[in-house]
Symmetry: C2
């Protein structure tokens, strides 16, 4: 069977997922909005600051009354940072005021406490040592932002400082893009729940756990997860359940090789799905289809192949949809020589050495999940290379 | 009041939080383990692979029987990737076998399907075109990893590939470090729930929302959140509730300035807490204390000051405890001249221009939450600088 080039399959999967980028929107409360993407600009519901207030601890005055400082003024009460409206300031008086407290009507300046001194015990009179112009240390209502002005743009991923701005501007809910709803289905009669006692010929289902976690890490949400044995009717029922659960994308593992009992192949090929081989290692067998209108991306059953296939073909689109940055890539020198098969793009599991070299971890065999776990990056050996020498620059993709 | 240097306060807060790094451990299921830190090495519960299996689709044979290939052999059944044990292979016969399926007793090699051809309709006999040595395309049980060998080390932050390795090795639960349990308490009589109708002198409580989200983003978990007016008895009750909820660290905002009604100051100073001023802008007032044995870090009430104080003093320790990387820092040239106050370290909100310059966003005033929201980094103006010219290199910390 002919193998299609890696880039061609990557482009096809990307085009299959592209329509999912047009997300519906939903309203979420601020406390559930961390990491979500704004679907519209957020306008302030209120003036910021909402009322005229003091920038300093000190006394609120009329600037005209302190122009000839030093001057003694009678103290007429105080304004604290607390609900309520302070009394108006009578001409020729001063009012104690706290940072952030409302500036009383009649006052037009605040004299900081360090420019004052008490007269007597200070309870009744204050000496203002330095004059202030009208407006000094007074923040006018709306001077930061007017009600209706934009506090946040559309399309940003919400971090704590964005939530602070939304909260300060009187918002309690935000319009965000819905997260992509994904179903993950493992196929294979040999698979059992991880941790279960293994009978002869049985294997723990590593793909279910790994793909669910990888989907979450890529900013989507798993709405359905299942595991089916090699039985087409059961697989169809499982995919139906995934669609009924609202899945917008279905990911499967297993069942797409050349052997017998290839259930994903048997289900999707008659419905126009594509099942074939991509010129890559690991992860050659790949498939795509549509189940009841929902795109389906099928990975090989081998856990390393399935994880790399997800990381290479699906994660980039999911991360973009979720507003997450792309996985970092870097060109670095290879730590030692490697051999490859011309005509296939090889992805070696590796790590970066202390010297900044890309060093393979474990062998090129595709069954070593522990080696993948010990890796931090993939080393990309180009399609046509039969060997790459130590020190040559290679592309790497961080996991 | 004397101001203590920024670095001194940072060091003191770090030392107050250091004992929290010795985390208790807990067991979590694989599906809840994403992002957690392993507390011990994870040993494989089983041999990997758990049984001797085939690396290819093809036929299982005795190598001795195909040494003289081409050779025709009778086909005796098949072995699929499914539960159960295949029958033993009789000498002089072949058994169809799928990738990953158990290799039958008696067989010692697998001939890939492309090195075979059917004899007649292929149902009864197969022609092996090429001989194979004993062991070829056969994965022995435990050849990847023996039961009891380490699959994952202690102290790593679990990503999907680590969960896959744990699952494949028969683990269903992992021993991880408990997440740090944090309480967040806003103080200020003027504060109301964001979104509530504002009366005169009232403000939305932005700090509660922002600090809860920032704690979560730093890998800790908020176990108690509250808001109290400027009343020491109520604050004490709120902090008691936080301790009763299991908080190991309490963060407060507001109530530590020089004015009247400074409730955090009034509560912690008599108990040996420190309330003072740090030579920094924004965020000068800072405080630390202990409430019923639980460390308390108090931030100013201004939302920008509170968020920056968290990011600069607390987030680094929390991220380290959670195994998250430190916030990236970078030296870059300043986009335009800035002025500063000698004797204070200034943190300007900024962004990186397309040309790689650090450009301030908004003014140096500390009340502009929208400017902080629009920032992506903090520009650090050194303690003793009164001015920094355009083009000079400055430290930046990414938010």
């Amino acid at each position: 069977m002919a193998r299609i080039p890696f880039d061609e399959h990557a482009r096809f999967v990307r085009s299959l997922l592209a329509p999912l980028g047009a997300r519906p929107t939903e309203r979420v409360s601020l406390q559930h909005a961390l990491g979500r993407i704004t679907a519209s600009p957020v306008e302030s519901a209120i003036d910021l600051p909402p009322f005229r207030n003091s920038q300093m601890d000190g006394v609120a005055v009329r600037a005209a009354d302190v122009a000839g400082a030093p001057v003694d003024l009678p103290v007429a009460g105080e304004s604290a940072a607390a609900p309520g409206t302070p009394a108006a300031l009578a001409a020729g008086t001063a009012m104690r005021i706290m940072t952030g407290a409302p500036v009383p009507e009649g006052a037009d300046a605040v004299v900081p406490v360090e420019d004052t001194e008490p007269v007597g015990d200070g309870s009744a009179r204050v000496r203002v040592l330095r004059g202030r112009d009208a407006g000094e240390y007074v923040r006018e209502a709306g001077s930061d932002l007017r009600a209706g002005a934009d506090v946040l743009p559309a399309g940003i991923r919400l971090e704590s400082r964005h939530l602070a701005a939304a909260a300060a501007s009187g918002r309690t809910e935000l319009l965000v893009r819905e997260r992509l709803r994904v179903a993950v289905v493992s196929t294979g009669s040999e698979l059992v729940e991880p941790g279960a006692e293994l009978g002869p010929g049985e294997l723990p289902d590593a793909n279910g756990v790994a793909l669910r976690a990888a989907v979450a890490a890529a900013g989507a949400v798993v709405v359905h997860a299942g595991r089916v044995r090699d039985d087409v009717a059961r697989l169809r029922a499982e995919l139906d359940a995934a669609v009924d659960a609202g899945a917008e994308l279905i990911l499967t593992s297993g069942g797409i090789s050349q052997g017998a009992y290839e259930v994903v192949r048997e289900l999707i090929e008659p419905n126009g799905g594509w099942v074939g081989s991509v010129a890559m290692q690991p992860g050659g067998p790949q498939a795509t289809g549509i189940h009841r209108g929902v795109p389906l991306i099928a990975f090989p059953g081998n856990p390393v192949s399935a994880q790399l296939s997800f990381a290479l073909f699906v994660a980039p689109s999911l991360r973009a949809i979720a507003g997450l940055p792309a996985a970092p890539t870097e060109r670095m020198p290879l730590a030692g020589p490697v051999r490859s098969i011309a005509g296939r793009r090889q992805f070696l599991r590796g790590r970066r050495t202390a010297d900044g070299l890309a060093e393979p971890v474990g062998g090129p065999g595709s069954h070593l999940v522990a080696a993948l776990a010990a890796s931090e990056l993939l080393i990309v050996i180009p399609d046509d290379a039969e060997a790459v020498a130590a020190g040559e620059l290679v592309d790497t993709v961080f996991l």
